[in-house]
Subunit: 246 residues, 6 copies
């Protein structure tokens, strides 16, 4: 099986982190094809950067989906998820959506840890867009630049452990979700120090993509996720244009 | 991998249907151990029957979980899901919860088809208990006894197709979920006649159980899903009692 | 009038506490028949214990309802409420539901005090299941074993007073609800020290049961609370079986 | 016990209907003091009429509450409920709120029957203001002037029966609530023709007022329902002014 | 353009404050006609005072709307908004509703600052009545009598700045709303010290009234906001009576 | 005043229709600068087309905002609204959000008319993203290609009138909102045949943009709508890049 990991950041270091995280949890025989955006923000953080990245996600999806069995949006705002899910005829998974749905599978309410004050409302809107606000026990928002460096960071991880435990003890969270593409693999690293399951979007998203790829529910031919079919678009990447040609 | 399928109905015919459905979608190498209740309703339909079946689910889980990698509640009210999830140290999946969460993975809002007027409010409460009411595009409730016979039924399937199409066309559903343990396998049978993915609880639940079993998130040691630990219970099945002994 | 108090804990001390609380608030001429479970947890605290107690509640109801005018589920998770309400042809009251609805009658939003971290999510789910989450001003969760001893405890009551005042001052609660069967009578004991009404499930449930018994709305003959009628059940208590025989 | 029935309509015929309905369901020994507004709409139907009636409700409450044990707002928009509940030191019940809460006590979701297209949004807002929207299975809105005549009307009652049955069969309602002060007593009249409990606001409100009067939870001394205490008001009814004087 | 400012408080000082605030933000050529209640509370603070003020609002509207292009309810509970909106054939704006909707226009979630513990639940109910609870990031409630004095108060404003910053930093509010008629103009005074837009109801309400007056959407002739038409009312102000005469 | 109308469709005919609609409702002295996308779909209809258009919206905003006092997203999915609102230092209005908020100003619940089955879920998600789902009385979805032709269409308008009346009579809508950029001006055309206000996004959006431009609430310097500041982006339009340079 081959899974396309779409990282519409334009930072190879982030793409590499995510890809490494994905490979660490992929089933034997699952190949990870990680692609990095070629325009837009180095690290998508703000609302306008995300708006640009919607397009980049579509472009990366259109160029690289051929031959893949599923795709994962490897940006933690799940940027472009709905558009890509409509466009492609393979399953498309949002890394944060996957973490939220996996937390639901484990039961109870989840605590969320996000990075950066200005991203917090965006995550709250994202959770609400999935109809899952009532499944959130509480939020913690941390400031850190260490996460965007290569490798892992002990101090950051210690901070995450403290926040996770606070979510369990004070908000009665039954699971903890770490958001952020760069958190790929961090859930597993701190798990032993946290008394409830710690999920990150890649650790949740890869298995979910594998599940959907194996299950082969058909692409809808009606409704808002049917392929767009023949539509007139101008001045778009050839790979995109091709998807809209009958 | 070995998955325990807990059917707290006391009808072997229902258990057999569910087990067949599960085996049809299980990965190669996944063994399905289907167990049938030994007390309570032949077919759990009413609220009081379900109350009794909570206990039966716990008893079946306690007796048979040993050596299994995951368990599925194979009753479509997900009877006893939360209690079993707490009790066992393996992942526990609710068949209807699994279908709902899988529909979320596929995107948009789902149409639900349920059986029997008196069960309809129970399903509405179940969906609400997962916080997923806003993800429902519409409901259809059909009356049929054919579903509880061995084998499949053409007339019933034609009815389900009509209702599914109605959910797509009039309620703008992007997926359709068939509830009912006896619907195991029916989603796949009618899929070609419905323009959006058709999910049933077993077709969704088995892959989800496999996913969780492979992913090995740890059993929580705090919170409402931690194992109960040493607790004093009286006059319960020895297998149950053993689970509460340190 | 005779009210059946169904305590599916298997601790006579708890049943006695609840019964005493009920008798203290019952109208003159109301007889309280308090029955204690004969299988399951001494004190229902966890999700799996509650699953077992669903069955016990049905069994106690089936055995003892004859000749009663109403029943109260005297376990603070309202264990088995919906099933018992369906099964019996007399009104069935949940002690926590009664406290929540009574707080609604008094107006504004309520503060809730619960016992034990692992029960907190269960109470949140219970409140949500009644559709009353928006009526909650805030929560306080205390740890105490004193509540389960015979008699009352000054230190615990002082703690409850502090938490109740905090709910009024910091969460703007207009009423306070104490959950827990063992809180029967405690509301009245601390009332003078709290500036808003303090409700417990028994103090609220007994009058509600009397109200419903007097009002004599008919047992529904359609819908999800109609009696199940003739249904096939196996290996259940004779009293249960009798209820399912036409 | 003496219950004040505050009907801020200025139609004695409506007040008489409500009073008769209240007396029909009151416990032996309960006296009903029904008072009629002296300014404002004959029959409160519109939003501006209701705004005026808020004041009238307060005036009637201030004048007549002395010596009463509880009060009922006998206008089906529960006009002035919150203000009166704050002002008086006896329990105050809203007739529609009482019906909604009683339907909750009986379980499941309720169907609502309202009169007049322009009142329908007002009822929807009222239900939402109690946080009970999720407990509504469906609505039916009928046009009728017969309801406002003295006595009962066979044709209207036949219509109500049809709508109630429709709510049960098509919306899966487990109870039916008739709104409208003039529906006092109609629930009981049509009950035998409807397969689930039929509630009206007076049949629900009188027992609830009796319950609260007997239970004697204290008047809050803090929060938004504490008595206003000494406040400066000008040009108000002497009875109102007296309530704001220390 | 002429805007009627309806302040159903009976304090000329409050009316003057509100009028000054309105004139400060009105467009050139907009005339503000500020009217003060002649019965009821000096400063509407409690639920019963507000009930009386509903009537006063209707009376002031009926008397003074002639010749005006729009009206603003200049009481921060938006007292009588719905009734006045129905009654008049010009647009009617609620000052707090206007602030909430304007905050929506600016994006994200808002922090609310209210005055007085007993008013807090009333504001929460008001926000909920507009369906906007999910748009609130957090609340702060301050106690102050200074606000009701003529002129401005440095200490109070410093407190408001601190609370506003707290809402931004700890609740991630993207805007801040000051409730209270006496806050008219305070938003502008503290704006430079707060890093997000600070709205008050008058600063938001006047432009909204101007917008609606210019846009000239027609008065509805059906539904719950159509004019009541010929209706029988007794003992009401002649100006009110005239509005109900065909 | 100069308002930028951002139409990220790539159809000049649509841009012209929207611009004409905007000019028809703009205040004297307001200049409308309507810009059309240069890449992407002719008419944005599907989810993937919208994803591309997010970028186009940002590009158009970055290129043309200089010298403008406010901007309007003139695509009815409000495509790129949040990103543009963050990026620019002038107010940014979403045409559909504006219609929804204006309907709120007029009171009650609104009926929505949308075009095309596959767009319907997208609109439902959009309304939910503003937290306004509870303000919707009902939906009607029509199929029409006439709307995308130059000029107006009598048959289409007759259909819209019928649907609007149906929303008033059967769903109790107090206002009606027409979605779709090509509906600019249609509200005014059919208004006389509909008994409640009919809003379209341009008729609502232009006055709202004028209001915000005049009111001059400051650009936030904190939170999720503060300008992004110096950020590293690659391969983006020079106008975009300039916005991210300090």
């Amino acid at each position: 099986m081959k899974i396309l990991l779409i990282n519409s950041n334009t930072s190879q270091v982030v793409t590499d982190k995510v890809a490494a995280g994905a490979r660490a949890v992929a089933s034997p025989g699952t190949e990870i094809l990680a692609v990095c955006g070629d325009f837009g923000a180095r690290v998508i953080g703000t609302r306008s950067e995300e708006a640009i990245a919607h397009h980049s996600t579509i472009a990366l999806a259109a160029r690289h989906a051929e031959g893949c069995d599923a795709a994962i949006i490897a940006v933690s705002y799940d940027t472009g998820l709905r558009g890509t899910r409509e466009l492609l005829d393979i399953p498309v998974v949002g890394m944060t959506e996957a973490a939220l749905l996996t937390a639901c599978m484990l039961g109870g309410r989840m605590g969320l840890i996000t990075f950066g004050a200005r991203g917090r409302p965006v995550y709250e809107e994202l959770v609400a867009s999935y109809g899952l606000t009532s499944r959130i026990a509480g939020w913690r928002t941390v400031e850190s630049t260490a996460a965007y460096q290569p490798g892992f960071d002990d101090e950051l991880e210690a901070l995450l452990v403290r926040e996770a435990i606070s979510l369990v003890e004070r908000e009665f969270a039954d699971t903890v979700v770490l958001t952020g593409a760069v958190m790929a693999g961090v859930g597993a690293r701190i798990q032993s120090r946290v008394p409830v399951p710690v999920l990150d979007g890649i650790a949740a998203g890869v298995p979910q993509a594998e599940l959907l790829a194996r299950a082969r529910w058909p692409k809808p031919t009606r409704g808002s996720y049917a392929a767009p079919g023949a539509r007139e678009l101008v001045n778009v990447d050839a790979a995109i244009a091709k998807r809209f040609t009958p």
